[in-house]
Amino acid sequence: MPETIGARGEPDPSPRIEYELQLYYWMKLIRAFEDRVSRLHRQNKILGGVYSGAGQEAIVTGICAPLKDGDFVAPLHRDMGVFIMRGVAPGRLMAQLMGKETGLSRGKDSFLHGGDMEHFVFGSTSMLGSSLPVAVGAALKFKMKRDPNIAVAFFGEGASSRGDVHEAMNFAGVHKLPVLFVCENNRYAYSTPLEKQMAIEDVADRAAAYGFKGHVCSGNDLLAVLEVTERVVDKVRAGEGPALIECKTYRYRGHSEHDAALYRDKEELLEWESRDPIPRFEFYLEKKGHDIKRIRDQIDQKTHQVVQEAVDYAEQSPLPEPKEALEDLYAPPGASVTSNLNSSSNNGAR
């Protein structure tokens, strides 16, 4: 396994092939993490709502890989992978899920509502789509301060029905802000299918109404996501204004782990599982001459180890003290409001 696998890196100066192997590693790590979380939930070691992003790994990997340090990312509740891709230590994520003191929110919120501003990952709320105006505000700051950064806001086709999404995109278009909107269209808003949510096929069509371009790609094809992202991100960063990438995908599991998703057709799930992004990328690697079986074994071993270490870290971490229920409500007088934001070295453990 190349040394770069499992470490932070960008395509250059590493050869493209090493970069591709690294992307494969990230997708595998995210899937392994998601699968472990589902299992821990069944074992009652993780309580509350758990929203699996299994099947959607190519999107977070392909969108986040071309991003730079300091880019602001507002993930969805289903985007565990964003945290991993942005350098948040898997142990802290697992601790967040278990309500531990060492979690992102120090036990205050469950699952992915914790953010990590040290890595510029903004914690979402359950009001899906509400993060889009916030990401637009981050982009506004970047433009005002001539920062070379962009903001990225993830949302589902479900959230696209909300007014916040319209307000955010409209304003971003008017001011040509450096923001990338990423729609993960997984065809279901909880139980409600696409055709009951919108009268058009592509959320991306709406971008034209806001004065920027919408792009559609297969969210289950890492290379497709990566190709469009690399192209679009450069333009957004160059000041050409916002863009929307819609990634067509499918939610393997229920809305949450509590949901057996019996409202869906089994055939439909099978069909989408046959388009799983991971075997698809393995097929590509194999065609390029890699010994995929050897690589997969190595990476499975590595991801298992990383996930196990995260679980161990979380399980050994203390629960918060009861008195902490009243902590972290207010910034104390004189506290720096950007204490974690000016550091250029935000290379967290991958």
Binding site: G115, P133, V136, G137, H175, L329
Partner: protein
């Protein structure tokens, strides 16, 4: 010293804070070219340019949400709801996004955002330009809520709000904009958030109020002093979240009789919380029930006889003082 109106004090505070800190910027509907529907932001665009004074579409959720996004990156946005009535359109961003932000980031993020909200009735504004929505926010941990009643506080509290590291909802009363004037010291001063102020000393009865009803309350207090020989202590809350509990309890213990007055409607208003605080912590010092004068439990209607019936005024306060004093 310089005679200033309430609206001018707000405008001056914005000018001074934008000059002091380049991270302060202003955003809202019609705030740049027009200078705001009430001229609160007049001259800012000319002084600081359109990058720091931003006209927005009619998008309250965006206005607050974008303010939050800029604030977590270290900016200090002052966003305007053109009328406080419209703040309902941004309710989710304020209550769920801004107020929980630090909590859900484990204390590792801050949201130094000011939401200015021109509130209040008495200007023939009818149902959607007369509201006092402060009590929707005063039970939301993570927010601070202020409601200045004087020109001095309008300036000093706005400066404190801008310099605070937390989301602050700043309710400015429209009726006060040009109806009150004060001599203000020139230059920089602030009014601390969370500290109430005694506007008039007295030992017979306490009147606790804020915002638009401070004036009528003081008028009523002076009348009963002159006509009835009653000493009414008037406490101006100034900050509604966090409440200055010590000041509230101190005046209740001092006089034993408390009247709470606000322009917001009665049920669920801040008066209920103040009354509960007093009955919980100063019950044995009381010499009568805590009473409230507030808007009737309806919407603020348009036609003058309806509006007058609904809103508190000096006469209604006077009557309540006399009734409580006689208890």
């Amino acid at each position: 010293m310089e005679q200033q109106t309430y609206i001018k004090a707000i405008n001056t505070a914005l000018h001074e804070e934008m000059r002091r800190d380049e991270n302060v910027f202003v955003m809202g509907e019609d705030v740049a070219d027009l200078g705001g529907a009430f001229k609160a932001t007049e001259g800012l665009r000319e002084a600081f340019g359109e990058e720091r004074v931003i006209d927005t579409p009619i998008s309250e959720a965006l206005i607050v949400g974008a303010g939050i996004g800029a604030a977590v990156l270290g900016m200090r946005p002052v966003v305007e709801m053109q009328f406080a009535d419209f703040i309902s359109c941004a309710f989710d961003q304020i209550v769920n996004m801004a107020a929980t932000l630090r909590y859900r980031h484990g204390g590792q993020a801050a949201c130094p955002l000011v939401v200015r909200a021109p509130s209040g009735a008495g200007v023939h504004g009818a149902l959607f330009h007369s509201q006092n929505p402060e009590a929707w926010f005063t039970r939301v941990p993570g927010l601070k809520v202020v409601a200045p009643a004087t020109v001095y506080d309008a300036k000093g509290l706005l400066k404190s709000a801008i310099r605070d590291g937390n989301p602050v909802v700043y309710f400015e009363h429209k009726r006060l904009y040009r109806s009150i004037k004060e001599d203000l010291p020139e230059g920089d001063f602030t009014v601390p958030i969370g500290v109430a102020e005694i506007r008039k000393e007295g030992s017979d009865l306490s009147l606790i109020t804020y915002g638009g009803t401070l004036g009528p309350s003081l008028d009523a207090a002076r009348i009963v002093e002159k006509e009835d020989g009653l000493g009414v202590e008037v406490l101006d809350l100034r900050t509604l979240l966090p409440l200055d509990r010590e000041a509230i309890l101190a005046t209740a213990r001092k006089t034993g009789k408390v009247l709470v007055v606000h322009e917001d409607r009665l049920t669920g208003g801040i008066g209920g919380e103040v009354a509960a605080l007093i009955s919980e912590h100063a019950f044995e010092d009381l010499d009568g029930p805590v009473r409230r004068v507030a808007a009737l439990d309806t919407h603020v209607a348009f036609s003058p006889p309806l509006e007058q019936t609904i809103l508190p005024d000096t006469n209604k306060i006077l009557e309540a003082i006399r009734s409580l004093a006689a208890y």
